[in-house]
């Protein structure tokens, strides 16, 4: 096995001179990628660097403006999703491409049998799945419904799907984003086994430590261009980091602030769908003024319920919810807003903004009933315009006018609008759920700066994030969430990543199930 493939060996996959433009934006600029048998190549880059576009071209979802894709020496016809699959390329998507209420077997065999067949052959499918599972250590019950599987198991199904189609090249898009550190280790072990069998792997990521851990070679993409290629033995984290971003990443400087009075409290609160992983039972949480409380953990462990409780969309079934010393008897988004809670929701497009309404209309959506923006049921259009102009200027939003349709803005600019709306009126509590997901480096730094500013001004900030680096950089206290439970809090720098990982995997929680975070 050649771990470091020599330049002379024939590549199994070759992308040559791929260029793709979307209007004025150049998503890929003459990108060349080669992949050898038995090697793991990492494709490293920030959000928006062009990784996803490149993979969409490889899989025929987009057609490149110029350049070619060839696998095993044969050129693939552009724009034909079937061609890549036929050529033995398999993809494990970041958001799993699985049908939840169908079985593992049906998902894996989907599209592999002739659509004209009068009978779906389960027997052949089952025996092959069992066989593949045994060979690669990817055991899953073929008759289990996807909805009943854990995230790690679902990812195994995705890999099996590719192997079932006899993929020789496997592409994984941000595969660890949804995994605990332990599950990620198991994935890496599987990948090593696959490579040992002669498969080739492209590993797409923006996390440096993972790239260093798993890959043989790294390609760095920045703003659509390939800016560097390194063998892993010849490089280190800081060099890759420097390649990845234009400016040097400086961790945000955090001034120590003395925590103030209690701004928000959950006392023995229960909420969420009974029986689901997102259910909270008897949860306690205290947020203090001038303090950022970070909630670490893999999504789907109750973060949505917790975020809903703070932002008003979820009412507690039992227990007490106290805002600024006042115990709430009813709880709704409207009440939360009138009690000074600023909210940054997880999904900008689905929850944060109304894409088909204007920037100004979106900025007043939480305050439209207040005397500031309406009188006797009539809108004060001028006031909304003025407010929009002020936010656009203060937050450096790139948008043509307050009348522009919000849908046309980039993710970063949308997030700035949401910040502008949430931070208006100096809220005493700020709920920020995945505030930087999908943003480029500049926008991430901007969001962090604003959150720290709000903290300095005395806001109690709840930061929920899957990005452990973000949690560690910003949080004064870190709490880990797993299966609806909250760990005891730890002060800045008190727990190691390893310890946090243990907690994320559900180990080391107090017996009573609910960690006390007082």
């Amino acid at each position: 096995m050649t771990r470091h493939a020599s330049g002379k060996a024939k590549p199994v996959l070759r992308l040559a001179g791929i260029t793709k433009r979307f209007g004025p934006l150049v998503a890929n600029d003459a990108v060349d990628v080669t992949l050898q048998r038995g090697e793991v190549v990492a494709l490293l880059g920030e959000n928006g660097a062009g990784k996803t576009t490149l993979m969409n071209i490889l899989f025929g979802h987009y057609v490149a403006d110029s350049g070619t894709v060839s696998a095993f020496g044969r050129e693939l016809p552009p724009g034909d999703p079937h061609a890549a699959l036929q050529a033995g390329i398999g993809m494990v998507h970041q958001h799993f491409m699985l049908v939840d209420n169908m079985t593992v077997l049906e998902n894996i065999a989907l599209g592999t049998q002739s659509l004209a067949a009068v009978r779906f052959d389960k027997k052949i499918a089952r025996s092959r799945i069992v066989e593949l599972g045994r060979a690669f250590g990817l055991a899953v019950d073929p008759d289990a419904r996807i909805a009943d599987l854990s995230v790690g198991e679902r990812q195994r199904v995705e890999i099996l799907k590719a192997l079932y189609r006899e993929a020789r090249i496997l592409i994984l898009d941000e595969p660890t984003a949804v995994l605990t550190p332990m599950e990620a280790d198991a994935l890496f072990a599987t990948l090593k086994k696959l490579v040992g069998e002669g498969l080739a792997v492209i590993f797409i990521s923006h996390k440096l430590n993972e790239v260093m851990a798993i890959s043989d070679r790294v390609l760095v993409l920045r703003a659509g261009r390939l800016v560097g290629e390194r063998h892993i033995a010849d490089t280190d984290r800081s060099e890759l980091a420097a390649l990845m971003v234009d400016e040097e990443i400086r961790p945000p400087s955090v001034e120590p602030v003395e925590p103030g009075r209690i701004a928000f409290e959950l006392k023995a609160v229960s909420a969420g769908r009974p029986g689901s992983a997102g259910r909270l039972e008897g949860t306690d949480l205290t947020l203090r003024a001038g303090e950022i409380t970070g909630i670490a953990g893999v999504s789907g462990n109750g973060q949505a319920t917790l975020a809903g409780l703070v932002s008003g969309t979820t009412a507690p079934e039992a227990g007490a919810l106290v805002v600024g010393g006042e115990a709430m008897t009813t709880w709704s988004p409207h009440i939360a807003l009138s009690h000074g809670i600023g909210r940054i929701p997880e999904d900008r497009h689905a929850t944060g903004m109304i894409g088909d309404m204007s920037v100004a209309e979106n900025l007043v959506s939480e305050t439209v009933r207040t005397p500031r923006f309406s009188r006797a049921g009539f809108l004060k259009a001028r006031a909304a315009q003025d407010f929009a102009r002020a936010v656009i200027a203060d937050y450096d939003v790139k948008c043509p006018s307050p009348e522009a349709r919000t849908r046309l803005l980039s993710g970063g600019n949308m997030q700035k609008l949401i910040l502008g709306r949430a931070l208006d009126g100096a809220p005493s509590v700020i709920m920020a759920n995945q505030p930087t997901r999908g943003l480029d480096v500049g926008a991430v730094a901007y969001v962090h700066r604003r959150l720290l500013e709000a903290r300095s001004n005395g806001a109690a900030v709840l930061l929920i994030s899957e990005d452990l680096d973000e949690i560690l950089a910003l949080s004064d206290r870190v709490i880990v969430m797993s299966r609806g439970r909250l760990s005891a809090p730890s002060a800045r720098g008190d727990r190691s990543i390893r310890q946090l990982g243990e907690l994320m995997a559900g180990h080391g929680f107090a017996q009573d199930g609910a960690g006390h975070a007082a």
Partner: protein
């Protein structure tokens, strides 16, 4: 093929594509006219003449447009909040029923008091009729398209029952029709001796009022927010369910006014053929106007013109007047496609 939002959607786009839709509709209609063995140019000429070619034709078109403005507004208001009210037909009939129940001499009130009471009753009845399906949607997740559609059949049978029972005019020679509304209730004619009545004025006022509500008020804002993204609206503290119920009341009320206007302004009494599908045509009217309340006045006149013109044409040419229904349905489909194409660019690769 894929669709990409146009960042540069210009005025030209928003005008050109709808114009193309109208043109395509005319081409298809021309094909059908040829199929019927007539010349498209002479038939279109006859339709145009029948719609706007004389004072009589023009007034007739405006008279026909009156109920369509009301039902068009009803549909536009509901669709804006993404409440799929396909039951304007039923709401129209309920409005008509209330008009004849209260307007045939039961209430001992003088005209100036009676008419506002009657209009309030009409609006409430129509609104409440749509509140049912809206509530079922909110509470049980029952699709309001199906319930409002089925409601049309139920209400028509209900009206038939009333007309053969309690509301039957004893002087009606056995026909299922109601008594005539009293002089006080009748809407005056706008021009002496012509059919155009004050209902048209009422429709124009309603269109203006609806425009103000949708564009200038908090309620209109909330309605649009709920329609475009209910989840985001809820997150922003907008009471989504209450907004939907208020929208239902407004929409149903507007549709019911069509029934009032037809009975009090034109027919004088209630029969089972009061509406030749004004409720359904209202959908076309609303979509042609892209749900804009002021645009609805124009699109209602346009659609009414096609119907009135086609009626006149079919009397002299051998082309069935159903051509008008085909044209409006075609216009609906081409227009929704045109609106989409004005906002999105189709990329084939």
């Amino acid at each position: 093929m894929r669709l990409e939002p146009r960042s540069d959607a210009t005025l030209a786009h928003t005008l050109l594509f709808p114009a193309g839709a109208v043109l395509l509709t005319l081409i298809i209609a021309a094909g059908l006219v040829l199929l019927a063995g007539a010349s498209p140019f002479s038939v279109f000429g006859l339709v145009l003449k029948g719609a706007v070619g004389s004072e009589f034709a023009l007034l007739e078109t405006l008279t026909r447009a009156t109920p369509l403005i009301f039902t068009g507004l009803a549909v536009a208001v509901a669709f804006r909040a993404r409440l799929w009210n396909i039951g304007a037909e039923a709401q129209l009939y309920i409005g008509a029923v209330v008009t004849v129940v209260l307007g045939t001499g039961i209430l001992p009130l003088p005209g100036p008091v009676l008419v506002p009471v009657l209009i309030a009753g009409v609006v409430c009845a129509g609104g409440l009729l749509l509140l049912g399906p809206a509530y079922l949607k909110i509470r049980f997740g029952v699709d309001e398209v199906v319930t409002t559609l089925l409601m049309n059949f139920i209400i028509l049978l209900f009206v038939s029952m009333l007309l053969e029972g309690p509301l039957k005019d004893p002087m009606g020679l056995g026909w299922p029709q109601s008594k005539r509304v009293t002089e006080d209730v009748q809407l005056p004619r706008l021009i002496r001796g012509k059919r155009l009545h004050l209902g048209f004025g009422l429709a124009l006022i309603s269109a203006l009022a609806t425009w103000v509500i949708m564009k200038k008020t908090v309620f209109g804002y909330e309605m649009r927010a709920v329609g475009h993204n209910a989840e985001a609206a809820r997150f922003a503290g907008i009471p989504v369910n209450i907004v939907l119920m208020k929208t239902a009341l407004l929409s149903g009320g507007l549709a019911a006014l069509a029934g009032y206007s037809e009975v009090a302004g034109l027919k004088g009494n209630l029969t089972l053929d009061l509406s030749p599908g004004f409720g359904y045509t209202g959908i076309v009217v609303a979509m042609l106007a892209m749900l804009n309340p002021l645009g609805i006045v124009l699109s209602a006149i346009f659609v009414a013109g096609i119907f009135v013109g086609a009626d006149a044409m079919s009397r002299s040419a051998k082309v069935p007047s159903y051509i008008a229904d085909v044209m409006t349905a075609t216009a609906l489909l081409t227009m929704v496609a045109a609106i989409m194409l004005a906002r999105y660019r189709v990329r084939w690769r």
